[in-house]
Every structure is written in C-alpha cells, then in structure tokens.
Amino acid sequence: MWRTTKISNQLNKYKGLLGILPALLFMLIFFLGGTLHSLSLSFESKETFSLVLQEEKFWAYKELINVTFLQSIGVTVGIAAAVSVLSGVTGLIASLFLVERSRHWKWLNIIFQAPVGIPHLLSAYLFMQVLMQSGWYSRFAYQIGWIDSIEAFPVLVHDEWGVGVILAYMWKEVPFIILLISPFILKLFSDWREQSIALGGSFSQTVRWVIVPILLPMWVGGMWVVFAFTLGAYEIPALLASTSFGSIPVEAFQEYSQFGLERQPIAIAMNMVLAGISFLVGSILIFLQLRWYNQGRRVW
C-alpha cells in the first residue's frame, strides 16, 4: 500500500512535468532550431549563387563590418534603449498615480491600457496622421495661432532624430508597462504603505525607498521586453522613419524581400546581430540580478 502510493506519487509528479514537454519541444525546435537553421543559412557560401569567393563562409557577416552598418546598430539600439527607458519611467510614474487615485478615476485605467490591444502598424499610422506637417496637431497649432504656415510645424515624421518613431513606440509601450506593473504596485502599496507611514515616511519616500526597490526586478524585466521588441520590430520605423534613418529591421527586411535569395544571408546576419545584442543585454541584466540576490536579498 505504502509502496503503491509512493510509486503513484512519483508517477503523478512525472505526469505534471510531462505537460511542460510539448511547449518546451516547440520552443526548442522552432525558436532555437529556427535560429540555428537561420544561422546555417547565413553561412551558406556565395558559391551557390556565383562561382567566385568559394570558401568564404562568413561573407555575410564580413560584409556587415562597415561604418554605415555600425551607425545603423547605434541608431537601432539607441532608439530601442530610449523607448524602453522612457516608457519604463513614464509607465512607472503613471502606475503610481493610477494606484494612488484609481478609485476616483476608473475610466483612466481604460484609456491608459487601450493601446495594448492595438497593433503597432496602426499606432504608426495614427502618429503619422497627427504628427505630419499637414497632420492634426499642426492644424491645431495653426488654429490656436502658434504657427502661421505648414512649414513652421516641426518635422516629426521621417525626421532626422526619430522623434515620431519614439513617440509611436511609447504610445504602445507605456500602456504595456502600466498593464504589467500596476497590479504589483497595488499589492506593494497595500502591503507596505501603512508600515512606512508609521515610521514617518512620506508618499515619495515610500515610493523611492520601498516600492521601487522591491519592484525593481519586475520593472527592469518589463523594460527588457520592450527593448527586445523595439529592437526587432519593423512596422513603426518602416512607416515613420526616413529611408536613410538606418533602422536595422527595416534594412534587413528590404534585403530579405526585395533583393532575392542571394541577399538572404545578409538579412539573416543583420537580424542575428540584433538577437545577439538583446541576448547580451539580457545576460548582463541576469548577471546583475543574480549578484543582487546573492547578497541575500529576497524580494518576492
């Protein structure tokens, strides 16, 4: 009797783990396998297409080593970093306000979270409509009397600095951060606010010394998700950035879709660089987090 329960217990445990297997296999085969297969495609020697450069295995990667592409990396990573940090900070501040007075302003929650359900393609389009020199905001500015001609409105779409791109991303990602962290902030407030007040702490001291430090892993994780997504996303820079802007996903997709099979390894190599950067950033974050925990902290 004892033995059978023990065996069936072990079997049950095994069954529970069995449930993970399909999803794990799926990710291993398609995410990891797909990446590795792509990698092998990018090593395909040019010989398949032409007779020269027969043994050049890394030609696609070598071709990327030039100033223009390095600049593109700078621009792409810069935009992604700016979007993730700006969205992270704005989202955090907004969630703090929302939690503080959510009882009064329920409808704000709806507005603050609605953009999560709207595709990036449309957010790009929405911002094109309002930010263009002939857009809706420029009409407002004219009607109010801030500007007197269409040219006086600043260039925010297809511009040099990617202002439109960053704004369109923020429109999507600030609500994402709010959606992600506000339930946790709500819980942290109910757990710690009273204790902090009892020790004399003000609202801002409670936020700075208690709420944000405990929330940190979750918040940074959310920013990493935003960073990784922005790094690889195509629609917004494709619609809102100028052609010479240098967004790698856009350049890669052009190589992939317009210049034939011959250039496919280049497209893969470009995306591979992005994946590598995100992996590197992630590794650094995980390393920092582990070190933080190894000092003995337990947050959740």
Binding site: L39, I93, L108, L122, Q129, G135, V174, V225, A252
Partner: protein, 272 residues
C-alpha cells in the same frame, strides 16, 4: 509646505492630463479621416463627408473580407495551439519544483526577450522543405511562437494564485488527476484563460513581419492588406481599415467581459 504640496498636485494633474491626451487624441482624426476623401490643411474638420472608403473596403479590390477571414483563421489556429500546449506547460511549471526550472522557464519565455525574426526566417526555410504544410498552419506556427510566452505567463500566474492546497484536499478525498483538473482547476482558471486567449488573438491579429516571412508575403491578413495603403499615404482608406481592425478587438473585449461576468455569476450561484 502647503505651497509645495499644491504645486506637486498641479504637476501630477498636468502629467496625467498630458498622458491621457497623448494616448487618446490620435484616435480622433482616424475616425474623421475614414468618412472623408478630402481634408486640406489647416481645417480642423473636413467640409465634405463621404462613405467612399468604406464602400471601397468591401469591394473586390479592397480585399477587406478576405483579410478579415484570413486573420480569423490564423488567430483561431494559433489559439488552439496555445490552449493545447500552453495550459499543461503552465500547470507543470506552477505546481512542480525541480532542478533546471528557471532554465526551462527562460526557454519558454525567450521570444519575449530576444527578437524572433531570425527564428521565423529559419522556420520558413524548414517549412518550404516540408511543403505539404498548409499556409494557414505554417503562419499559425509562427504566431504560436510569438504568442505562447504571453499565454504561458498569464496562465502560470493564475495557477500560482490557485496554489496546491485545493488540489491536495481533492487528492486526499480520492479524486483522480483529471477530475481535479476538470472540477477544481478549470473553473478557477476560466478568467485567466479568457484573458490569455484575448491577448493571443489580439497579438496574432497584429503580426506583420512573421506573417509576411512565413507565407512569403502571400497570405493576406489584415495587416498585410493595410500596409501598402499606409505606406502610400492614402489616409482615408487606411483610416477605414484601421477602424475595421478595431471592431473585432472591441468585439472580443465585449465577449471577454461578458464571459467573465457569466463565469463569476455562475461561481456565485454555486457558492450561494
């Protein structure tokens, strides 16, 4: 003291107002554009209204019907995939402690943290080699890769909230594993499965690059139909398409809240 309190209150109000406007205002010209063909600068509202864009949408060249149908088929297949492999995985992760759990978790959530375009290019090349795969199915596979992390995270969280206690109680009363799942966990899981499904469908609807790569640009889901118009700057038609895009999302949101309501009422009746 009072003065600084007041000014910080003003700053807060200003921040909330700016953010609200930032998020809400862009919707307004969208609605307006879909009902007009001509709207010259600097008019705040157009002088002439028309339904031409909406008529064009559902004409043969507008392809709206085709786009909607394709989007729904892919989203539906993606959702089935998520339900089939996502729920058992979340359950296994939430209810078991074992070595290497973090690594497995990291692998399952990897597409959230690392851009997935490369893997989809690889998947596409593999799919070409197995060319018996249906176009819808192969695109759904790509979408499954994108949506599965969100789905697993949502369901996993709910399983953690449910905890093991009810399960242990049922087990001690002699219920089998299946019965525990059907009788105890499934009813408690419904709200988060609804939320997860909503996320999956919305994310699947909005995919451009994975759909394009996986189908070689041939499967015309709504984003693929819209993109050329958006790029060409035909404002009116794109606006109409965008609104068309919102309708299923609003519809889903409505269904989600309705189902949630029915579910909570049922639970209440059971308890009462």
């Amino acid at each position: 003291m009072v003065k600084s309190l007041k000014s910080s209150l003003v700053a807060k109000g200003l921040f909330i107002m700016m953010l609200t406007l930032f998020l809400f205002l862009p919707f307004i010209p969208l609605v307006i554009w879909s009902f007009t063909k001509q709207w010259p600068w600097p008019l705040l509202l157009p002088e002439k209204w028309s339904l031409d864009s909406w008529n064009y949408l559902f004409s043969v060249s507008g392809r709206a019907g085709e786009g909607l149908l394709n989007s729904w088929i892919v989203a539906f297949l993606t959702l089935i995939g998520n339900l089939l492999i996502g729920i058992p995985a979340s359950r296994g992760l939430a209810q078991n402690e074992f070595k290497g759990k973090r690594v497995i978790f990291a692998i399952l959530l990897a597409p959230l943290f690392i851009p997935y375009t490369v893997s989809i290019i690889g998947m596409h090349d593999l799919a070409i080699q197995f060319d018996f795969l249906n176009e819808y199915v192969s695109v759904a596979f790509a979408h499954l890769l994108v949506t599965l992390p969100y789905f697993i995270a949502t369901i996993w969280f709910q399983f953690r909230l449910i905890g093991n206690k009810l399960q242990e109680a049922a087990l001690s009363l002699g219920a089998s594993e299946w019965k525990i799942f059907i009788w105890i966990e499934a009813p408690l899981l419904i709200p988060s499965v609804l939320l997860g499904s909503f996320l999956v469908i919305v994310i699947s609807f909005s995919q451009y690059l994975p759909t394009w790569i996986m189908s070689g640009g041939t499967l015309q889901t709504i984003p693929l139909v819209i993109f050329p118009f958006a790029n060409s700057g035909n404002s009116s038609i794109v606006a109409a398409y965008s609104l068309l895009f919102f309708i299923p999302i609003l519809f889903l949101l409505l269904v989600y809240y309705l189902l949630l309501r029915i579910n909570s009422r049922k639970q209440f009746m059971k308890r009462g």
